[in-house]
């Protein structure tokens, strides 16, 4: 691990004032410490933000506000999260391990780095870690890699399950910087890799994610998260689906669908949502709606199974919402 100085800012204002070139915020450390050990991230200054008042899970009006330092396990166990947004609780409980969930903050979860093995290995080229060096994944070990939103420069997936659920729910994040704060839709935070895969999100340098805000959505009580992976537990998704349905009188009035494990960012599927809306709550509706779920996909040599697996994953998730 490269040397860094360690500071513990006392306030959010102090934290964003101290942040600068070469600095990194430390919350749970499950991404940062791991990647520092691998020399895949090499900050010269670490700012421990764990004492900052970015905690609490509470209703603000009709929205649910979650402090960015809340741990994955605590969010998953929270009665309001479980009752109002089962898809969020399920996505969290299918992530990582109990120990990691006790450590990892939800802000860090949303901004975690990819699990691409080439990104994690500083002895190989990687356009995301070292811009301009190339992408060995395109013709290498790419079974777990993305098929949607990829570019010639990068095919790495975004690994967060939580982000898939929150994108489906149209969540926003609160960002604090030196001049104030701003609210941005989570879906708009993530950038496609294009020819700048080292730029993963729209945060400005030193900007701090302080809070996640989930809109009220009564019918999200009927929601779920299905994750398909090589092991039953403690593994990242090959494909996953976050779905919520508003069903009345056997008809789908509204739908939310997002996919994980397939995109370079959490992948909302508005075409599938439209194809479900106004249709009867039946298997043939689900099967026809997902026909175009992987449109535009560019599978790689070792993940040609992903488009079909994605369609089946979404159908299974939708089927799980039947009465």
């Amino acid at each position: 691990m490269r040397a860094f100085t360690f500071d513990t800012p006392a306030t959010v204002a102090d934290a964003v004032a101290q942040a600068g070139d070469g600095s990194a915020y430390l919350a749970g450390g499950t991404t940062l410490v791991d990647l520092m050990k691998l020399d895949a991230m090499t900050p010269t200054r670490v700012l421990d933000i764990n004492r900052l008042p970015m905690r609490g899970i509470r209703l603000e009006g009709a929205r649910l506000s979650v402090g960015a330092l809340e741990r994955m396990s605590d969010v998953a166990d929270h009665p309001m999260v479980r009752a109002r947004y089962p898809v969020v609780a399920e996505a969290l409980l299918r992530s990582a391990s109990p120990q990691v969930r006790n450590m990892a903050s939800i802000g860090g979860n949303l901004l975690q780095r990819t699990r691409c093995g080439y990104f994690r290995d500083p002895d190989t080229p990687c356009n995301k870690r070292a811009p301009g060096t190339g992408c060995p994944a395109r013709d290498g070990h790419n079974r777990a890699h993305a098929i949607l939103g990829t570019s010639n420069d990068c095919v790495a997936t975004h690994p967060s399950d939580l982000a898939v659920a929150l994108v489906a729910l149209d969540a926003s994040v609160l960002l604090r910087n030196r001049t104030g704060e701003r609210i941005v839709r989570l879906d708009d935070i993530y950038r496609l890799p294009e020819n700048t895969p080292h730029l993963e999100n729209q945060l400005h340098p030193g900007e701090l994610l302080t809070e996640v805000s989930i809109p009220a959505l009564d019918w999200a009580r009927r929601s779920t998260y299905v994750k398909v992976r090589d092991r039953q537990s403690y593994e990242f998704a090959l494909t996953s689906a976050a779905v919520a349905l508003d069903v009345r009188g056997g008809m789908i009035r509204n739908a939310r669908v997002a996919a994980g494990g397939v995109g370079t960012k959490p992948w909302r599927l508005p075409a599938v949502e439209r194809a479900l809306t106004g249709r009867p709550m039946r298997l043939d509706t689900f099967e026809s709606a997902v026909a175009h779920a992987a449109d535009g996909a560019r599978p790689l040599a070792h993940n040609r199974f992903k488009p079909a697996l994605l369609r089946r994953t979404i159908v299974r998730a939708l089927t799980g919402l039947e009465d």
Binding site: G22, L38, T44, D48, Q99, N102, S233
Partner: protein, 206 residues
């Protein structure tokens, strides 16, 4: 996949092996062609005497330590406090061998920087039961043969005690799911589940 070193014939040879591995990987990094991530682009280099003062409470005792901020809780426990019951398996958060409790919650000591734990309470396998007694979970692992080589066992036991406290021992499947962060290369999983079940919901205290 996590690489868990085999228990060696002697402690000396294992340490020697780890030291040589570390030296080899450091050499590889030094000759690496590829520059590090964008975070390395700028920022002043840390000063030579870059140390932090930390007070850690471990198993009820306070320890005043001056540490390189890179030092993990795992290395602090093993190398500074000589509490070697907490094991270093993968050192990457993938195997669970280093599981300890911080303020009563199970976490991975290998991904925790000691400097971030000022005034927090750490419990290791050595502090699970008072004096020379065994915690009921330790006894249950013995009674049910919940291990073969024993390397992952301290982490398994710390995780199992926390699992009971969290209320996740409702069924064999639930125990397996909530023990999934602790790998056992010998494959003692069935008897680990037996041990956890035998202690039951009252075994979460320490």
């Amino acid at each position: 996949m996590a690489h868990v070193p085999e228990p060696d014939r002697s402690d000396l040879s294992r340490r020697d092996f780890l030291a040589r591995s570390a030296a080899m990987s450091a050499a590889t990094v030094a000759v690496g062609v590829w520059p590090a991530g964008p975070a390395a682009a700028a920022g002043p280099a840390p000063p030579a005497n870059n140390l932090v003062d930390v007070t850690l409470r471990v198993n009820g005792r306070p320890h005043q330590l001056r540490l390189d901020p890179r030092t993990t809780l795992l290395d602090t426990l093993r190398e500074r406090l000589h509490l070697t019951g907490t094991k270093k398996g993968c050192d990457r958060g993938q195997c669970g061998a280093c599981t300890v409790h911080v303020d009563g919650r199970r976490v991975l000591a290998c991904l925790t920087l000691a400097a971030s734990l000022r005034d927090r309470a750490v419990t290791t396998i050595e502090g699970l039961a008072p004096g020379g007694d065994l915690h009921p979970m330790q006894q249950a692992f013995i009674d049910h043969d919940g291990f073969q080589c024993g390397f992952c066992t301290p982490g398994q036991i710390m995780s199992a005690v926390a699992l009971l406290r969290e209320g996740h021992a409702g069924s064999d499947d639930e125990i397996r799911e909530f023990m999934s962060g602790n790998l056992c290369r010998c494959g003692a999983y069935p008897t680990i589940v037996d041990a956890v079940k035998a202690v039951g919901p009252r075994g979460g205290s320490n």
